[in-house]
């Protein structure tokens, strides 16, 4: 992996400290680098940096490397690492916190579908109160990678013929209550 940070003075040493102020991330500094999280994670073999490395790099302030990693988007929030960590570090919440920071600072790979999906999804839910699976996936594909529309067709057909594909734009009745939920992208977490 290519390092973005070569000298210690480029590292954001305050970062780890800011992390520990967030729900679930309080125990970050007590990591003993045992690697249990990486060993448990079903996705670590597909990741560019392992969960153990993520914790180490956050602690040492390798902010850019971590935020630009594919790892944080591959994390499926399955909590396997968190329940196994001997130091009771909530690695899943650390990953969530990293995703939020990446989205807020716009530092994810271009045409990389997951942050796009997440934002589209939140906008839809905040405006309508429901997620219309079909439209969401469709819009995500258009914005990120139109080529996957083709491969989605078979699945779409299978769902259609089994009556599992709803194309209705869902909406709750009292949408007005949602106006008090802050627009997610504007929040500084």
């Amino acid at each position: 992996m290519e390092r973005q940070i070569r000298y210690q003075r480029e590292a954001d040493l305050e970062w780890a400290h800011r992390f520990t102020q967030h729900p679930g991330c309080e125990r970050l500094l007590s990591c003993i680098q045992c690697g249990t999280c990486s060993g448990t994670c079903p996705l670590s073999i597909y990741m560019d940096i392992t969960p153990r490395q993520v914790i180490a790099m956050v602690r040492e302030g390798f902010r850019d490397d971590v935020l630009k990693s594919k790892t944080i988007w591959l994390c499926a929030s399955c909590y396997a690492c968190s329940v196994e960590c001997p130091q009771k570090i909530n690695i899943t919440d650390v990953m969530y916190r990293l995703k939020r920071e990446a989205i807020q600072n716009n530092v994810f790979p271009k045409r990389f579908p997951i942050p796009v999906l997440a934002q589209e999804f939140c906008e839809m839910v905040r405006r309508r109160g429901r997620n219309s699976e079909f439209w969401m996936v469709f819009r995500m594909a258009l914005r990120s990678n139109p080529a996957i529309l083709l491969s989605m067709m078979r699945t779409g057909w299978d769902l259609w013929r089994t009556g599992r594909l709803s194309m209705r734009m869902e909406r709750i009745q009292r949408v007005n209550e949602l106006q008090y939920i802050p627009a997610a992208t504007k929040e500084v977490d």
Binding site: Y79, S82, I114, R130, R154, R164, D189
Partner: protein, 302 residues
């Protein structure tokens, strides 16, 4: 626990779409068990892992609206059959309980929206209700027909048993196995029962998502399972929908029915094939046709 407790049903978006068979089989099973159940009026999407990835506060507020609506109805038990919904609702309760800043924002939001303050609403999962409120013995007694000689693997997925461990043991869950055995299914050993299927990855980083599901299916086959039973609409979808693609990629003859626990229990209790959404399967159709043709009167099927 009184079995007559009224359950409020929080469907989430999936149970109205790709997971419609879960809703059908859940309502049928509850009817057969004579458990009163009612849909939460005007519920909103819980936000799942996506909203948490964008904003923790907004995600918690979304969940809080559902909890407040539940409180408005006067029922105490909010039933979330989807693992992701269950966890999102539970997690927001934990955040409110442990972080005063979040609790304050939730309070403010509910006030602005004219909703009641949060109170002791219990978020429940179907597996936990069947196991705790109904009980394995009662399910055994109520069974009117058995899928004898059919071997299944129980797949719990991740977000229900972890991290809180209230639905079942987070390391070695057994409640689904016990229920399935009680209604007459042969349950095989399955070490991957809580290994994550990748969730939405099949739609985003497709290759990785499909690979994870291939591993889950292959291991179930290796253990001699003819089908997999799930308790989450996304687990069911992932395991069910990509088998043709996996066959093409790997050349392995995988064609396995993927059920909901409520379909199997509902069938054992005498439910009808269509009422249980058994006709909505994508994979393993032949086996499904073969297994679920027995009339209620017939005692067994070999």
């Amino acid at each position: 626990m009184e079995p007559s407790a009224k359950y409020l049903y929080y469907p989430g978006c999936s149970l109205k779409g790709t997971g419609i068979a879960y809703e059908e089989s859940l309502l049928t099973t509850f009817r057969l068990l004579e458990l009163p159940i009612k849909e939460l009026p005007d519920w909103n999407c819980c936000g799942a892992t996506n909203y948490m990835s964008v904003s923790e506060t907004s995600a918690t507020l979304l969940a809080a609206r559902n909890l407040a609506l539940a409180r408005q109805t006067g029922s105490r038990d909010l039933l979330a059959p989807c693992n992701a919904c269950y966890l999102t609702l539970r997690k927001s309760q934990e955040l409110v309980a442990h972080y005063p800043k979040i609790a304050h924002e939730v309070e403010q939001f509910l006030e602005q929206a004219g909703l009641p303050r949060l109170d002791s609403v219990r978020v429940r999962h179907v597996l936990e209700v069947l196991y705790t409120d109904v009980g394995v013995e009662r399910l055994r007694e109520l069974t009117v027909r058995r899928l004898q000689g059919v071997r299944m693997a129980s797949y719990y997925g991740c977000q229900a048993v972890r991290p809180y461990g209230e639905v079942d043991d987070p390391h070695e869950p057994t409640r689904m196995d016990q229920i399935l055995k009680a209604v007459g299914v042969d349950v095989v050993e399955y070490n991957l029962k809580t290994k994550c299927c990748g969730g939405a990855l099949t739609g985003t980083i497709h290759d990785v998502g499909v690979r994870l599901n291939y591993i889950l299916l292959k291991e179930a086959m290796r253990q001699g399972a003819q089908a997999i039973v799930t308790i989450c609409p996304l687990c069911q979808f992932n395991l069910d929908a990509y088998q043709a693609e996996i066959r093409k990629q790997t050349g392995e003859p995988i064609d396995m029915p993927i059920f909901y626990l409520t379909q199997i229990v509902g069938w054992a209790l005498g439910g009808d094939v269509r009422e249980l959404g058994l006709h909505r399967a994508i994979s393993g159709k032949k086996l499904i046709e073969q297994w679920f043709t027995v009339k209620k009167e017939a005692e067994t099927y070999v």
